[in-house]
């Protein structure tokens, strides 16, 4: 005799929310969500309440008001009659400028010293170690201030260039002046230039107006066209090589394709160099690279370069020794082994930590305030906040800018990483 009984069916009981693993995770998530929402709303209401207590409101109107202050380094047109929004834009461009320059130089320095650190030459590898340990173990702020101080104190002031027997003289055949206010280098000018085109966005973006130099546009377009033609020539050479085994020499053709049209264009535009000249208090003419930019750029590159050097060294060491031995066995020389065999394989180890270093560099550029470089922290987050009293709004905007910048950098680098990573087929 068999007695079959159905398993007891019971309805849902509340205690299951805690004791039953099927439901417990929901309980935890719901409670966590409620706590987060409560926390956030408390923050928001507290902010609003305290702003009211201080008699302040949250408003971004100040961005449209006249700024009233001047900025020394301007990549776009700006004066004290422009708006605070425009001042913020000038600062953003200055931040981007130093971040891009810094990332490029840091990468070059990092790869260079990372490879040198693995050199078999004792002196070379020790020197690279000194660089790496020296720069990554001293706070960046100190390096920025130290390099800026050296540039300000150890270089001559413009007045030293004056007189019959000046205490200082210009370099490279009187074309470059190194002073304690910055370095003046020749600037490219066009006698028959095509002028500029003004771009005026409508509505709320009217502060974003800028001018594009037509000369620059034409030159860039010509260069792009030249490179496209070079690509065609190389493609043809590859086809001939595949068919006959002989690759025609394309070097001189390619050189001519790149140089001749651009050279002709420059000649037509009446290209010449404007040299800096001492007039009045300062050098006039030429391009003025301020010491604040130089010092920040140099210190950011050297500092981040030291970290990148270690990343590069680690990446190279992660490639099995057999790879280089095999390359040597095939008769490749050491530098070709490095560039063709080792570095491409090391890249997949190098790039992910490299992204963090680029992000660090971009954010560390806000230390510019220590030496008066007018980045977005100094214009929007500094002078504007101070003159308008909009601390909350100003600092929030600066924070959002750095967040967006970081997200863009990491998106770009991740895309690059996906392109170069080993494809497993």
């Amino acid at each position: 005799m068999t007695i079959s009984t159905d398993p007891p069916t019971q309805g849902f009981r509340l205690s299951q929310l805690i004791y039953d693993t099927r439901y417990r995770s929901y309980t935890i998530q719901v409670i966590a969500a409620i706590l987060i929402v409560l926390g956030l709303s408390w923050l928001a209401s507290n902010t609003v309440e305290n702003l009211t207590a201080l008699g302040k409101s949250f408003s971004l109107d100040f961005l449209g008001k006249r700024s009233g202050y001047d900025i020394n380094q301007r990549l776009i047109e700006y004066d004290s009659n422009s708006t605070h929004g425009r001042a913020a834009l000038v600062g953003i461009l200055n931040t981007l400028l130093v971040a891009v320059l810094g990332c490029v130089t840091a990468l070059i320095l990092g790869v260079f010293f990372g490879v040198l650190r693995l050199s078999n030459n004792w002196i070379v590898s020790r020197l690279a170690s000194v660089y790496v340990e020296g720069f990554r173990n001293v706070p960046l702020l100190l390096w920025i201030i130290a390099i800026f101080a050296v540039m300000t104190e150890a270089t001559p002031s413009p007045r030293d260039f004056r007189g019959d027997d000046p205490a200082a003289s210009m370099l490279l055949g009187d074309t470059v002046a190194v002073t304690n206010r910055g370095t003046y280098v020749p600037e490219p000018l066009f006698a028959n230039g095509l002028g500029d085109v003004a771009v005026n966005p409508p509505g709320v973006f009217s502060d974003l107006y800028f001018e594009i130099s037509l000369d620059l546009v034409v030159i860039v377009l010509t260069l792009i066209a030249s490179f496209l033609v070079v690509k065609l020539v190389n493609g043809r050479a590859a086809r001939i090589q595949n068919a006959t085994g002989d690759r025609p020499n394309t070097f001189w053709t390619n050189l001519a394709i790149i140089v001749v049209p651009t050279g002709l264009l420059l000649w037509v535009l009446g290209f010449y160099l404007g040299y800096p000249e001492l007039k009045g208090f300062n050098f006039q003419g030429g391009t003025h690279i301020r010491n604040s930019l130089l010092a920040l750029w140099l210190s950011l590159s050297l500092y981040t370069g030291a970290f990148i050097a270690e990343i590069v060294r680690g990446g190279i060491q992660s490639v099995s020794k057999g790879q280089s031995e095999a390359a040597f066995a095939l008769g490749l020389r050491a530098n070709r082994t490095m560039s063709l065999i080792i570095l491409p394989q090391a890249m997949r180890v190098i790039i992910p930590p490299l992204i963090s270093q680029f992000l660090n560099l971009a954010k560390n550029s806000s230390l510019a305030i220590a030496i008066g470089y007018m980045d977005v922290r100094s214009t929007l987050g500094g002078i504007t906040v101070n003159q308008t009293g909009r601390e909350l709004e100003g600092i929030l905007l600066v924070g959002i800018f750095y967040l967006l910048l970081s997200l863009i950098i990491s998106t770009g680098m991740n895309w690059f990483n996906n392109r170069v990573k080993l494809k497993e087929r």
């Binding site: 201080l54 206010r181 220590a370 100094s378 009293g389 924070g399 959002i400």
Partner: protein
């Protein structure tokens, strides 16, 4: 993104929460010391001496206030502030009073929610250049490089001055007076501009002050005064009348030397009696005891004594009274009646 926004809000909310408490007087009494925001180093106005004790004309205002409120002129915590953080420090409640050669302007008084309690120095913006440049007027400064403290009224005046005179300049933004001094002496800027009193003070600290000239042009009005947070009128009254007490004391001939004697018993001058608390109940009206003003004056002396001791003609800074003489002597320094 959301997270970052709210973390920022959290920080600001935390700061604001500290600033929201209304009764500054109670806070100061409970704390037993006054938090006073000063310049991070301007000879004669606020600077620590060799023993680390803060000295100067602005510092003296805080000492007098501490003496009036707490009975001890040394019960002051000095907080050195740069031009950029000074208003935030006051709004957030980090300091009780800002005595940092700050210019009284409309927007600061209204939009920035400060309350200026008076003027302790009438100033104007000037320019200092090395003598060897041979510049005699600020209008000759076309193309010059100018060191300027950021976040100040002088920064805005400078832009206006050069634009209205149709001449150009290159600003070098700096944070503190010490930094300006170093840049200026290194020749990284041709000109240093700030309030004329600040220029005199900076020049006095140079190795060879006579190598530098202050140009004759004064391009702005800079009434410098202590400020408190907007909204706590009781505290503003105490600070305002402490400053007025110092000014009135000079006018009435009450000095640090004779204040004890005059305050001991009623004198023949009823205004002195009211000021020093031997007659009437002025102290009680602002929530202090009767001899609050006597203590404030005894702390460092009256307005004139403080001026002569810290920045007057016999000090290295050598500022004449000029506009800052008593109204009875042709100046602008004037205290409303103690009545």
């Amino acid at each position: 993104m959301k997270k970052s926004v709210f973390l920022g809000a959290l920080t600001v909310a935390g700061l604001a929460a500290a600033g929201a408490s209304a009764a500054t007087l109670d806070d100061v009494k409970a704390r037993g010391s006054l938090n006073c925001g000063v310049s991070s180093g301007l000879t004669g106005f606020s600077q620590p001496d060799a023993n680390g004790v803060w000295q100067g004309f602005d510092v003296a205002v805080c000492r007098a206030l501490a003496a009036a409120v707490l009975g001890d002129p040394t019960a002051v915590e000095f907080v050195p502030l740069t031009t950029q953080v000074r208003f935030t420090a006051l709004a957030s409640g980090e300091i009780d009073i800002l005595a940092r050669n700050t210019t009284w302007t409309f927007s600061r008084d209204t939009d920035l929610k400060l309350d200026f309690i008076g003027v302790n120095y009438y100033d104007g913006q000037g320019f200092m250049v090395p003598k060897e440049l041979g510049v005699t007027s600020a209008k000759d400064l076309d193309g010059a490089t100018v060191c300027i403290q950021t976040g100040t009224t002088t920064e805005l005046n400078l832009a206006d001055f050069f634009r209205t005179n149709n001449i150009s300049y290159e600003p070098i933004p700096i944070e503190t007076n010490a930094e300006a001094q170093q840049q200026y002496l290194a020749g990284a800027c041709d000109v240093f501009t700030t309030d004329a009193s600040g220029l005199a003070s900076t020049r006095a600290s140079f190795e060879n002050p006579s190598d530098h000239v202050i140009l004759p042009e004064i391009i702005s009005k800079e009434p410098l005064g202590p400020a408190v947070r907007h909204g706590d009128n009781d505290w503003a009254d105490i600070a305002r009348w402490t400053l007025n007490a110092l000014i009135a004391a000079e006018e009435l001939g009450v000095t640090s030397a004779n204040v004890a004697e005059l305050g001991a018993a009623p004198t023949s001058n009823p205004e002195v009696n009211r000021l020093l608390g031997t007659e009437g109940e002025l102290g009680a009206m602002i929530g202090l005891d009767a001899d609050w003003a006597a203590r404030a004056i005894a702390a460092g002396g009256n307005y004139g004594e403080l001026f002569e001791k810290n920045i007057g003609v016999n000090t290295p800074i050598g500022l004449a009274r000029g506009l800052n003489a008593q109204w009875t002597e042709g100046g602008l320094i004037y205290a409303p009646p103690f009545r």
